[in-house]
């Protein structure tokens, strides 16, 4: 079953509306002109650290530690990124190096 063009456009508009609601809501609820509640200010200082960790886990959610290659390529590549980054402290080098190691591992080794 495929939608008509207008049904497709409405579906896309709903996807836009839902996404934008989640992006704009904090800024609408807590505008610059008003002091946000202290709890929100507090969350605004701790969440930046936690969200980076969440994104790491989120981007690895497809990894299967119990089956297949057991997530070994991911683990090895992340160790390589950490070592590379502590050694050279170059963001581009760490990202490119880690990705190259990962691609080599899954295409050639595993």
């Amino acid at each position: 079953m495929t939608m008509t063009t207008w049904q497709g456009i409405i579906t896309i508009l709903m996807a836009v509306l839902g996404t934008m609601l989640t992006r704009f809501l904090p800024f609408i609820l807590f505008p610059e002109s008003k002091e946000p509640p202290r709890l929100i200010t507090y969350l605004g200082t701790v969440l930046p650290y936690a969200m980076t960790g969440l994104l790491v886990v989120y981007s690895l959610k497809g990894t299967q530690p119990l089956t297949g290659n057991h997530g070994i390529p991911e683990a090895l590549a992340i160790i390589a990124i950490i070592l590379l980054h502590l050694w050279k402290k170059n963001m581009l080098l760490s990202i490119a190096g880690g990705t190259a190691i990962y691609m080599a591992l899954i295409q050639l080794v595993f």
Binding site: I12, M14, R23, P26, Y42, Y49, L55, V57, S59, I81
Partner: protein, 265 residues
């Protein structure tokens, strides 16, 4: 007003050259990932205008891929809306994290909020902007460069359609690599109280993921983190006074003089 204009141009150029190397890994992977999405739309018989518009206006990768499936199923606008809100719950947390840093952004602000996807947030959040660089223009260039590569990839993919097949196996690991690097940078530049917040962000989603699986762990993770941080508040409350690595304040040199950023209390 000539010296003023030159000064402004220099400030914009400097923000651009600061933003470009930070966004480059995202731009490259966005281009190819969006291309695979555009190709998917093309093979389903949609003209390139569809992936072009969807990547421009929905602009969150996960929801765009999901919408491809929605378009070939029964018409249910309310379900589409609910799905977009659920998939986008994490944006609420990005917004709260950026409330303080998106102050005094003027006309740029609506676009900065509109374009705050995972990767743009990660860069904005993880970069300590030098005091000599204009914050507003930096954030704008990060957002623009990322979205331009995403939309151009999706459009090109839609034009190519099923005519060319190519493999991006392993390329999406660029995102993981970038998030890990930003995590290390944040870790190295902060004290042990921030480490506790960072570890919470690793531990709780990992636990939720292992119990609930990849499709259902995000919203429970966000709620559990919220509860955890409220419980840890007496301990972490003074975090922003002991360390302020990401809240670098610069006096805006190009626009009208801005008031000192004050979002701490």
């Amino acid at each position: 007003m000539a010296p003023n204009t030159r000064h402004r141009r220099q400030a914009i150029a400097k923000a651009f050259t600061t933003a470009l190397p930070r966004t480059l890994p995202v731009c490259i992977s966005f281009f190819f990932l969006a291309m695979s999405y555009g190709v998917l739309m093309g093979t389903r018989g949609y003209s390139f205008l569809w992936p072009m518009c969807m990547s421009t206006f929905i602009y969150t990768g996960s929801m765009e891929f999901v919408t491809v499936d929605l378009l070939v199923s029964a018409f249910n606008p309310l379900a589409a809306l609910m799905l977009a809100i659920m998939l986008g719950t994490r944006h609420l947390f990005y917004g709260i994290s950026m409330l303080g840093r998106f102050t005094n952004m003027g006309a740029k602000k609506p676009y900065l909020i509109f374009s705050l996807c995972d990767e743009t947030f990660a860069i904005d959040n993880g970069t300590t902007i030098p005091t000599t660089v204009d914050r507003g223009w930096f954030y704008l260039f990060v957002a623009l460069l990322n979205q331009l590569s995403w939309v151009s990839g999706a459009t090109l993919g839609g034009i190519i359609g099923g005519r060319i097949t190519f493999s991006t196996t392993g390329l999406d690991f660029v995102m993981t690599a970038m998030f890990v690097v930003i995590f290390i940078d944040q870790w190295m530049t902060t004290t042990h109280k921030s480490h506790m917040a960072a570890l919470t962000g690793i531990a709780i989603p990992t636990i939720c993921l292992s119990i609930l699986g990849p499709d259902n762990f995000m919203i429970p993770s966000l709620i559990a983190m919220l509860i955890m941080f409220i419980a840890l508040r007496p301990y972490l409350e003074d975090l922003n006074t002991t360390t302020t690595p990401t809240n670098t304040d610069t006096t805006d040199s190009t626009d009208t003089p801005t008031t000192k950023e004050n979002h701490t209390r």
